[in-house]
């Protein structure tokens, strides 16, 4: 065991965990004032539920020994993380089975847990303002179980690292996805598209104004995502080494270039460089460099990032032509950015980077390009089809969408019995129109529940 590597991976896991609250702010600021809490709760719900599922059987499905074809890990091998404790005692050194490379398996469990969480949370941006919370939680659990955990096995489980046999994308196809362009972003983006189709458009979409209610929250969220993403990418080296350092730099510079690319498109197309454009460009760049951060040079990263910013800025308008209410552009940013970043490895990979592969532009021919395309396509199709099935199954049984009048009233109040902002603070927080003081309300509430207030 290496203590430096372990310290870096544990710190990276905490950085990646912060990305989900960051995403909640990023998404929350983009919706209307009457729906911000529900938007943020979908992320916090994923944080709560997926943490538990990951420990119970998620890690085992992703990183247990392959059950056949590189499709799935054994759900029972590490059930409840049994067998991963420092069986010889920390002071006496770890047993071989409780190490992943140079770090304790538990550090790897922690690091990969937060990937599963944010992938589920990312989907929620496609269905803003209209999904019942309970069915969302049910969807999250089912989706993580039959879509994310298997796909994480395909992409992240290397032979001999966590178990003897890993997943097919990582070990047979040999597609390069360093930190999750396919498993996280294409996966969540395709699921977002499917779920937006299942749930349908919001009441008044393309007619009523649905502009972001708080852009400073969006900017803060984008900043936290950028910060946490250094754990996501550089932490994926699983070591505090030169690769982590190179990845850190490619992640930074691609993101800057993507923000510039998005702003340039806006300046020429719309006349103004906007703050939402800067925040969106940051995320587009981070998405695109995620699979490619270990295989491109810093100059290659600038190209990958800048093109990601331009492509995603152009892609976010497609939903109006497709008439699909992907509310916060999960498709335009994560699916398009994820596909671009994954395919870009086939063009821009340079063997001078740590992945050691040459892409088309560096004399490597199309060998890596087709591997990247197959990996991206497989995850896209699997996630899209499975999500449609899960989504329709929930819709047809318990129902997924809130009532129309509840949607108009605002999902924060109707689903959570809360509102984000006190617009009548000068009256002490109670509405003058309700005719009751706060204390009277509490008293009545307490009596109704049969307790002494």
């Amino acid at each position: 065991m290496d203590t430096g590597d372990t310290a870096w991976v544990l710190a990276s896991a905490a950085l990646v965990l912060l990305m989900t609250p960051g995403l909640a702010l990023f998404y929350g600021g983009m919706v209307r004032a009457k729906t911000v809490l529900n938007m943020m709760m979908m992320s916090f719900g994923a944080l709560a539920l997926i943490s538990v599922l990951w420990v119970l059987y998620g890690y085992s499905m992703a990183f247990g020994n392959d059950v056949g074809g590189g499709l799935l890990g054994s759900p029972t091998e590490f059930f409840g993380l049994k067998g991963l404790m420092g069986t010889e005692g920390i002071d006496k050194g770890f047993a071989a089975s409780s190490l992943v490379f140079t770090i304790p398996s538990m550090a790897f469990v922690a690091f990969q847990a937060v990937f599963a969480i944010i992938t589920v949370a990312l989907i929620s941006g496609a269905i803003a303002d209209r999904a019942r919370f309970g069915p969302w939680m049910l969807f999250s659990g089912i989706w993580a179980t039959i879509v994310y955990f298997p796909v994480a096995h395909w992409v992240f489980a290397f032979d001999g690292a966590e178990s003897a046999k890993g997943g097919w994308v990582a070990n047979k196809l040999l597609a390069i996805d360093f930190a999750g362009g396919t498993a996280v972003h294409i996966n969540a983006g395709a699921a977002g598209l499917a779920l937006a189709i299942v749930l349908g458009r919001r009441v008044g979409w393309q007619k009523d104004p649905m502009r972001p209610h708080n852009l400073p929250l969006v900017m803060l969220g984008a900043g936290l995502l950028w910060f946490g993403w250094f754990g996501f990418n550089a932490g994926s080296a699983l070591s505090a080494n030169g690769q982590a350092s190179e990845v850190w730099v490619t992640t930074m510079v691609a993101t800057g270039a993507a923000a510039l690319g998005w702003l340039v498109v806006e300046r020429f197309r719309d006349g103004h460089a906007t703050s939402l454009g800067a925040a969106s460009g940051v995320v587009a760049g981070l998405v695109a460099i995620t699979p490619s951060c270990s295989s491109v040079t810093p100059l290659g990263a600038i190209a990958v990032g800048a093109l990601a910013g331009v492509l995603c800025a152009l892609a976010v308008g497609l939903k109006y032509k497709m008439n699909v209410d992907d509310s916060l552009d999960v498709v335009g940013v994560h699916l398009v950015g994820g596909i671009w970043g994954t395919i870009a490895v086939g063009f821009f990979a340079s063997s001078s980077a740590t992945a050691g592969v040459d892409g088309l532009f560096y004399g490597g021919g199309v060998d890596q390009l087709w591997r990247q395309a197959v990996g991206a396509g497989a995850v896209l199709v699997y996630s899209f089809v499975l999500t449609l099935i899960i989504g329709y199954a929930i819709s047809k049984t318990i129902g997924f969408r809130i009532e129309e009048e509840d949607e108009i009233e605002g999902i924060d109040f109707t689903e959570h019995s809360e509102t984000a902002y006190d617009f009548v603070s000068r009256t002490g927080g109670s509405s003058l129109l309700s005719g009751s003081t706060p204390s009277a309300t509490i008293q009545a509430d307490a009596e109704a529940r049969g307790v002494n207030a």
Binding site: P209, R211, E266, D270, T274, L276, G277, G317, D329, G332
Partner: protein, 112 residues
């Protein structure tokens, strides 16, 4: 007695308040309101999607006065609030039937 109501640009509110103080006006009611006139709002762009924002923020002030003060106060507001550009706002005057001061019960002219 009259009530003078003025709807002005928010950034001219301090100028108008100073002008009214100079004219001897000691109290008023101010509210933040929104609306539109001939300028018809404006357009905002989010991720390339254009939104027509019809309502423009304004400040509304209401002052109850003796008839004799109305003309000078109206002129003071207009002079302080004007920028010469579209959206400067409006000032209007309406009659008041009666006024009561809540603390003392004073009525009409003595309550103004």
């Amino acid at each position: 007695m009259k009530i003078v109501t003025a709807v002005i640009k928010p950034h001219k509110w301090e100028d108008v308040r100073a002008a009214l103080e100079a004219a001897g006006i000691t109290g008023m009611t101010v509210s933040e309101v929104s609306g539109y006139g001939r300028q018809k709002g404006h357009t905002e762009v989010y991720r390339g999607a254009e939104y027509d924002v019809a309502l423009v923020p304004k400040v509304r002030l209401e002052i109850v006065l003796d008839d004799a003060e109305v003309e000078s106060v109206t002129e003071a507001i207009v002079a302080a609030a004007a920028t010469g550009r579209i959206g400067d706002g409006k000032v209007w005057v309406a009659p008041i039937e009666s006024v009561v001061r809540v603390r003392t019960g004073d009525r009409d002219e003595s309550a103004v």
